[in-house]
Symmetry: C2
Subunit: 337 residues, 2 copies
Amino acid sequence: MPLELNQEKFIPRIETELKQFLSAQSFRSALEMKHMISYHMGWEDSGKHGKRIRPLLTLLCTGALNGDINDAMPAAISVEFLHNFTLIHDDIEDRSALRHGRETVWKRWGIAQAINAGDALFCISQLAMLELSNTLGAEIAAKAAYEFNQMSFHLTQGQYLDMAHEADENFELDTYFSIINGKTAALISFCAALGGIVTGQDNRILESISSYGKYLGMAFQMQDDYLGIWGDPNVIGKSTSTDLQTKKKTLPVLFGLKHSEDFKELWEIEDPSPGDISIMAKALEASGAKTFVSQHVAKFTNQAFDALDASFNHTQNRSTFVVALHELSEKLIQRTK
Amino acid sequence: MPLELNQEKFIPRIETELKQFLSAQSFRSALEMKHMISYHMGWEDSGKHGKRIRPLLTLLCTGALNGDINDAMPAAISVEFLHNFTLIHDDIEDRSALRHGRETVWKRWGIAQAINAGDALFCISQLAMLELSNTLGAEIAAKAAYEFNQMSFHLTQGQYLDMAHEADENFELDTYFSIINGKTAALISFCAALGGIVTGQDNRILESISSYGKYLGMAFQMQDDYLGIWGDPNVIGKSTSTDLQTKKKTLPVLFGLKHSEDFKELWEIEDPSPGDISIMAKALEASGAKTFVSQHVAKFTNQAFDALDASFNHTQNRSTFVVALHELSEKLIQRTK
């Protein structure tokens, strides 16, 4: 319940603040670029967009540490802008044509202007973060901006590795963990830690919250990999095993390629039929991949909750924010249950 | 002479600091990305690269305002990294295959990883700027980073306009000025103003130094346009009228297209011969374009020097730094003389 209440309260506010911040920027005679960004944010046409989980996480962590939500708002919208900047560039790099049922920015405006609009949105995310100077002072703004750019740099490394290993049939699990750490967990981890930065926590607490976010992000991504093969299509709302269809090198697949000659052979089938996919999923399960992934999800989930407790046990531990964080974490990781 | 002495002193230091800062960044397992950036910066192969004029401008302005060069160094290397980030992305957007005699990053590593390496370099430029926190405190770091991102945002607008008008045969001079302001002058202007930011000047001085840099950048770009048609090939080291050959829409061309039917007709010739180009240059001159551009260069040059004097007249005006700034400005603008 606290999560639902907090979502009802904060998600519309986050949306309003995002829109207002974009509107406040001077695009001079490059107004079409504003339109590109607004379109990408989901504010035109069908209006579909992401769930704004990242800024919510920042605000919940801020609240759990007794910080002022208003003061933290520039930081919250900054991470959402940043996330969307990475999506614009990732879509170009991955040649993805659709996002939220709409043409991606590069598909609609061409690669050159999409790179450029992404760069503009990256600048806007930086400007939002530096607005902390007005709410919480220059010390906190400079620290937040520094950590923000360290994290953004880490994201580019995750993206580098992901693309570099695209054609690689048999990369090490360590590489997989580096990729999901860079591509997913680093940002989630930062969003959580940001609640600590804006409330001026010491390094011990910051590290603890970062760990919570990192484990949460890792567990979430591995769970997503799991559901992409063995999820209940009625629950997750898309046909399962699309990941096997599209030959996505997720954790179960990497495990299977290493440990099962049967699966390795099946993996070579071009354009597999639904029947093939069902056999592939079974071969993967027989290889121990299902158990392996489940165990890893469980391990990282436990670590996430331990770190969550450790991060906030010095505050009123049963505050609505801490309970909401528990609920949010459960919701993200255990989407099957 | 002061310019030469300052260049001899600072350019090698800037280079060392740039290299050290890049080396100090953790690329984790994405080491190839470090190689891409190092290659782009001109530190591998032939080793050719830009003249590092922008960080030099920041350091000279810092010195002219009695600031400590060491303290300003993170800001100086930040603008050079930023400039190089924009070059990586611009080369993709403009499909340029060569820079400093080497293959461009996208040409060598592909578009996807080049976008990504550019993003990484943008993060690095931000991290460098925020290092000011350690030398000059959080207030100055946060202010510098904020203005830095406003300027970077402006650059993306210049790039947007430039690309948007690529196929446009007859755009207004206002648009031309917006483009060169965004693409060239905004960064030069910021580099100068940065010397004022790191020395804690008030807004009046900051605006004055910004104007100096803006007029300098505008005059420089228009002079470049002039030389691209009427420059002495022996002096500028490239065959003149390449701009007419490549159909670049520079200031003289825009003027000619508006005011001369003769030139407009000649402009339609596909793949013009050297003879055609010579006739085109003469038609442009007859249209009044040469005079128009010269007058504009002179006007902006005067404004630049006026603003330069106004910016530093409250300090020891004959300091070696101020004299060096005069020399640098002369050198940039009046390269024919």
